[in-house]
């Protein structure tokens, strides 16, 4: 059974204080690992897809990395507008029609 564990559950940062979110996964052959951002009262919004260990992707203050067992979402010099819940999901090679297994998310609060 595919599993995704995200830590910490919640993280509070001061503006400009860099940190990382963790996504540990077990999957029977990884096809892709996804990061989504979810604002309160909204649906998740796509951030990144990572496919293989060693891969990195960046977008503004966010950088996602992937190893064979986990992914990190690094947030550099965060701003209050980065406050959101960040969701990690995996897609197994044998998943039917590309269905995803999601983690519970990390709620990030960035204070001014």
């Amino acid at each position: 059974e595919d599993q995704v564990t995200q830590s910490p559950e919640a993280l509070r940062l001061q503006e400009g204080e860099s940190s990382s979110l963790n996504c540990s996964y077990t999957v029977s052959g990884l096809r892709g690992l996804f990061w989504y951002r979810q604002d309160p009262g909204k649906g998740p919004e796509f951030l990144f897809t990572l496919y293989s260990a060693g891969e990195e992707k960046e977008k503004e203050r966010l950088k996602a990395t992937l190893t064979k067992k986990e992914s990190f979402l690094h947030i550099t010099a965060p701003k209050p507008e980065d406050s959101a819940t960040y969701l990690c999901a995996v897609q197994a090679r044998n998943s039917g029609y590309s269905t995803l297994t999601f983690g519970k998310g990390t709620m990030l609060l960035v204070s001014p």
Partner: protein, 114 residues
């Protein structure tokens, strides 16, 4: 640019009542999904559809039915609502493309069953 639109946004039901949640997308996507999101749990897949007239069960399908009569619409039905179905429901869609195409989500329907 509407994307994925869900109606209604909020609903309160009594146990045993029925209702239908509507998801509409204007991106001509082939694949559509219904998820539920509960506190302390990740998004869980209820049902999905890979094309007009086809549907399939996800991880938690019991108590729900779906229909995809038109490509742009995906309906989620609760025939006899139960308190355990209190949740936030999200619809998502994606194009067929590659197997790792990103999902586009609606803004959700908050459902309370009393």
């Amino acid at each position: 640019n509407a994307g994925v639109t869900q109606t209604p946004k909020f609903r309160v039901l009594k146990t045993g009542q029925s209702m239908t949640l509507l998801c509409a997308q204007d991106m001509n996507h082939e694949y559509m999904y219904w998820y539920r999101q509960d506190p302390g749990m990740g998004l869980r897949l209820i049902h999905y559809s890979v094309g007009e007239g086809t549907t399939a069960k996800g991880e938690v399908p019991d108590g729900y039915n779906v229909s995809r009569l038109k490509k742009q619409n995906f309906l989620l039905g609760l025939e006899s609502a139960a308190p355990s179905q209190t949740s936030v429901y999200f619809c998502a869609s994606r194009r067929r493309g590659s197997q790792t195409e990103k999902l586009f989500f609606g803004s959700g329907t908050q459902l309370s069953v009393l």
